[in-house]
Symmetry: C2
Subunit: 130 residues, 2 copies
């Protein structure tokens, strides 16, 4: 039976149980960061990036405000506030017929928020990699 | 009869006939730029921003690569290349029951592309406003 992708994703975000990503992510999942052009390929690096994001946002407010979904694609819009800066962004997700995520792309606006995330994600990735 | 919002939008992008935006945009449409936090309110300023975007992208390649739509919302993902820099972004569109666009939000990745767009859109808006 296929995984209910979006339900599982929302559960992970709420529980911050990042190990549950092992089942939700396909082995060949690709992650596209809001900051860097080069795609990050594979489950290990994608889990690292998504965990860093979860940890970064857990310091402030975080709320999904719009969900657009058709077929095997969804776009989840979120709003967050960190250090007094409003971050507006999307998680753009594609999954396979088993419900496993094969492509995860994040975009962020405005420019000030991209710069803030760039700095914070860098610090968080260093910590998680240490 | 309601406007077919996405069909009309794609026709405008292809024809670069920005004056057709007068019918497609609601009077109280709000535009959210990828660069600046403050929403731009009203048809005149939204038309100006969308025209500046059309003109900016017409200097390079531009292609829609994914369309996710449900209810009165759509997310159109695009890829463009300007000055050797790949720009990946979304148009996030919401319309009313008459099919007129009431909310138009743009997000861009990666950081290098946001900075490029920031510079180019500034120059284009100055020209159009002159």
């Amino acid at each position: 039976m296929a995984i209910d992708t979006l339900k599982t994703w929302h559960e992970i975000v709420e529980s911050k149980n990042n190990d549950a990503l092992d089942e939700l992510l396909a082995d060949d999942v690709v992650f596209h960061s809001p900051v860097v052009h080069t795609p990050q390929e594979g489950k290990a690096i994608t889990k690292l990036y998504l965990s860093a994001a979860t940890n970064t946002f857990s310091g402030g407010s975080f709320e999904y405000v719009r969900e657009v979904t058709s077929g095997n694609n969804a776009v989840l819009e979120f709003v967050s506030e960190i250090d007094g800066i409003t971050i507006n962004g999307i998680d753009m997700i594609r999954w396979n017929d088993e419900g496993q995520i094969v492509d995860f792309k994040v975009m962020i606006r405005p420019l000030k928020a991209v710069n803030l995330l760039h700095r914070m994600m860098g610090e968080m990735l260093q910590k998680l990699n240490a």
